[in-house]
């Protein structure tokens, strides 16, 4: 292979290797394991885990329900507070939420495996195909939900349960947002995101219009006049740029787009991947692209983060996952420029940021470079025309009920200011907004 030709190829692995590399990250607990783990829960009063859960799931209760042989009750306890409890059980950074504050940490440095128990309970329910929710009595009110990600679906589901007619406007072919297009594949195997969407829509009373993008073929002003209330769960439509020399070279890619392709790929063996990969960033997306390209057969994957380990947004668990998957993480270095040959990237030059080596540089050869330095909100559709929302820090400003500056418009998920960029946070936003919308539509004074 000549030096100036990027080594990018599909089919680097055998079918068995692909299957093995993209199988479930955690083997689900079986009945016996779940009982043993459930027995470890102390059924705390005012449990810290529940307080730490952004959706406030009554965790001790659902674990008790598992241990008493009432898994359906356990699932209901979870889903009443978090309709995406199944996905959150897979993707929540539990080590920094519920499990971080489990009193078993004080007792023996080993929290109850809350996430895995939550998955056990919800999997049981979905496997049984039991629909535990139903549409409320028709109120005659109509609500538009823009964006069918976690926030939008959570809001739509809660509104349907209250009897409001909901229309979800979704730009993509599938609902689920980042659950479908973003999360690492080995965290949500067997098309779980779509099964969950089906379960949510199963409540009834929710109409979905695909191919509808706000500011394109859907206009906020029109929605406001056609519907009694509007909820915006728009997500983040753009990625941050490096703004460096060589960024437009071939082989310099957005991690978000590649992950979406990977998630939608019917055959991973047809997905081309470089032999040497450089990932720039320090969040979950950076970890996800690094680990997944490694698992696609890349030989060397290096993730470079500009600050120290402790500042990384990806949790210690995620960093460890990357490292045990064979990803090399370099801390405290930022990209200086991208070097190319024949229009294709061939290396990235980095500059150390830590005090003792500040200014010193090193170069990593790369066949593919992934940018994972954050996404940003595309504000155009909500700041043009007559229907202008106030922004805060370049995202939509909301109050604690998720109300925007317009009286009949709510927003939630990654598009609002102050969010945590987590599925679970989006679900909570949708839930809170739905409760507020319901009060508004029923004319309750606040």
């Amino acid at each position: 292979m000549s030096q100036n030709m990027a080594d990018i190829a599909a089919g680097r692995l055998s079918a068995a290797e692909y299957a093995d590399n993209f199988t479930d990250l955690h083997t689900p607990l079986d009945d016996h394991q779940a009982l043993i783990e459930a027995d470890r829960c102390y059924f705390c009063d005012g449990a810290p885990c529940t307080t730490a859960c952004p959706t406030g799931i009554d965790i001790p209760m659902f674990i008790r329900q598992i241990s008493t042989g009432n898994p359906k009750g356990a699932a209901a306890t979870i889903l009443r507070d978090n309709i995406m409890g199944g996905m959150c059980a897979r993707v929540c950074p539990t080590e920094t939420l519920c499990e971080e504050v489990c009193v078993r940490n004080d007792a023996e440095n080993k929290p109850v495996k809350i996430g895995q128990l939550q998955r056990f309970a919800t999997d049981k329910l979905f496997a049984a195909g039991a629909q535990i929710f139903k549409k409320g009595a028709d109120t005659g009110k109509r609500v538009a939900v823009v964006g069918g990600g976690p926030a939008g679906l959570s809001c739509a589901h809660a509104l349907a349960r209250q009897g409001h007619a909901v229309t979800v406007f979704e730009a993509h072919d599938k609902l689920g947002g980042l659950n479908e297009y973003g999360i690492a594949s080995y965290k949500t195997v067997n098309n779980f995101a779509q099964h969950e969407v089906d379960y949510i829509l199963g409540v009834g009373g929710i109409t979905v219009e695909h191919g509808k993008r706000l500011g394109d073929n859907v206009i906020l002003g029109q929605l406001r006049s056609d519907y009694d209330a509007v909820f915006l769960g728009l997500g983040l439509g753009a990625v941050n740029a490096l703004s460096l020399e060589g960024e437009d070279l071939a082989g310099v890619l957005d991690a978000v787009a590649y992950i979406a392709d990977l998630r939608q790929a019917k055959d991973l063996a047809k997905l081309p991947v470089g032999r040497r990969i450089v990932v720039i960033g320090g969040g979950m997306t950076a970890i996800d692209i690094a680990v997944q390209t490694k698992r696609l057969g890349a030989e060397d994957v290096t993730l470079v983060y500009r600050r120290g380990r402790e500042h990384m947004k990806a949790s210690a668990y995620e960093q460890e996952l990357a490292q045990t998957s064979g990803v090399k993480i370099k801390y405290s270095a930022k990209p200086a420029r991208l070097l190319g040959e024949g229009g294709h990237v061939r290396a990235v030059e980095f500059e150390y940021t830590q005090a003792h080596a500040k200014g010193e540089r090193f170069t990593l050869e790369a066949d593919m470079v992934f940018k994972a330095i954050g996404q940003k909100f595309v504000a155009g559709p909500v700041t043009g025309g007559n229907d202008v929302l106030e922004l805060e820090g370049a995202r939509i400003a909301v109050n604690n009920e998720r109300r925007t500056s317009l009286p009949d418009v709510w927003a939630g998920g990654d598009c609002i200011a102050g969010g945590q960029d987590l599925t679970v946070a989006g679900v909570e936003d949708g839930k809170i907004a739905a409760a507020s919308i319901d009060r508004f539509l029923r004319g309750d004074t606040e």
Partner: protein, 434 residues
Amino acid sequence: MADIRSEFLGIKSPNPFWLASAPPTDKEYNVVRAFRAGWGGVVWKTLGEDPPIVNINGPRYGAIYGGDRRLLGFNNVELISDRPLDLNLREIKQVKRDWPDRAIVVSLMVPCEEAAWKRILPLVEDTGADGIELNFGCPHGMSERGMGSAVGQVPEYVEMVARWCKQNTRMPVIVKLTPNITDVRFPARAAQQGGADAVSLINTINSIMAIDLDRMAPSPHTDGKGTHGGFCGPAVKPIALNMVAEIARDPETSGLPISAIGGITTWRDAVEFMALGAGNVQVCTAAMAYGFRIVEDMVEGLKNWMDEKSYARLDDFVGLAVPNVTNWQYLNLNYVVKARIDQDACIKCGRCYVACEDTSHQAISNAKDGHRHFEVIDAECVGCNLCASVCPVENCITMEPMTGGTDPRTGQPVVKEYANWTTHPNNPNRVAAE
């Protein structure tokens, strides 16, 4: 090193751990395995008259579990030995000859007629067995035929049969008592009256382990029907401890040797029973759950504990706890305790708080400066020990006696003098204080 050799009614064994009369002691094969493992003695599974009884062919055992499927108790509907009498006798004789240093006591159950006892006693004597245990306790199967607990529940029968046995054998006689009665002291006194050398207790407790909600029948079942069985294992230990104590401290039976049975699983359980006056202990469920090897730890644990406490021989601690078991009306009403929560040990689960708040005295606070923090409110605490009982951390909550001052709950001074209910002003039957 502590000497744990045991002598019970003159029957010697290398340690005080005997296997109780039950499935593990039904035949030579099992008993030899037990002796190899280190058991000090066995009470051979109950012999009856030929033809042998028949057992059901459905399940004999049911179980109750704690967390992690840890066995808390068994029940069973097995009857006495279903093997021919002669076969059992020959095996007993052989084992006793092969293992002369181990105790072999033979459990017996024959009809309530003197002739029946007269027939079987010489046969047992001929084996060289060390003694007999009268099975007056079995709660199922045999009782319906006028044996087992049907005898044990009638003190007059207990006395009568014990007397027949004492008159017709030179072997020591142990009467095994059923717990399925109102006051265990009555059959114990009757056994003593009849001349019995000792009592052993408890036999199993009438029980239904569970109901199968699909079949709407007891579980386990035999062809869809279930019956009560005898309950045993760790869950019954508190009941057995009380019954042993009742007999040990009854002035009428004081000094009557006791062989303790009932959920003994560890060396510590054994020591507790012996502290309540038992001369030795019998084990069944623990062996059935884990195998005979558990005796290794029982032996070593007992020795280590005795060394630690400087007890040279078993007699040095047998019965030491008996004087400290009393009746409620003699408990010191002037002894005032308050719960104390060790804040360093506390893991902040809040179990103590909710138990006290929901079900007791609202004597624990759950927050301090806006943070989770659990502290006892002395002005409300009655010292009931509920919080310490539900706390998952050992020794995190302790009950600390007040040694002076005023009890903030009652406003009464805490005094050192002993005072009990018998002299309390609220007691309509009080006796004048001295």
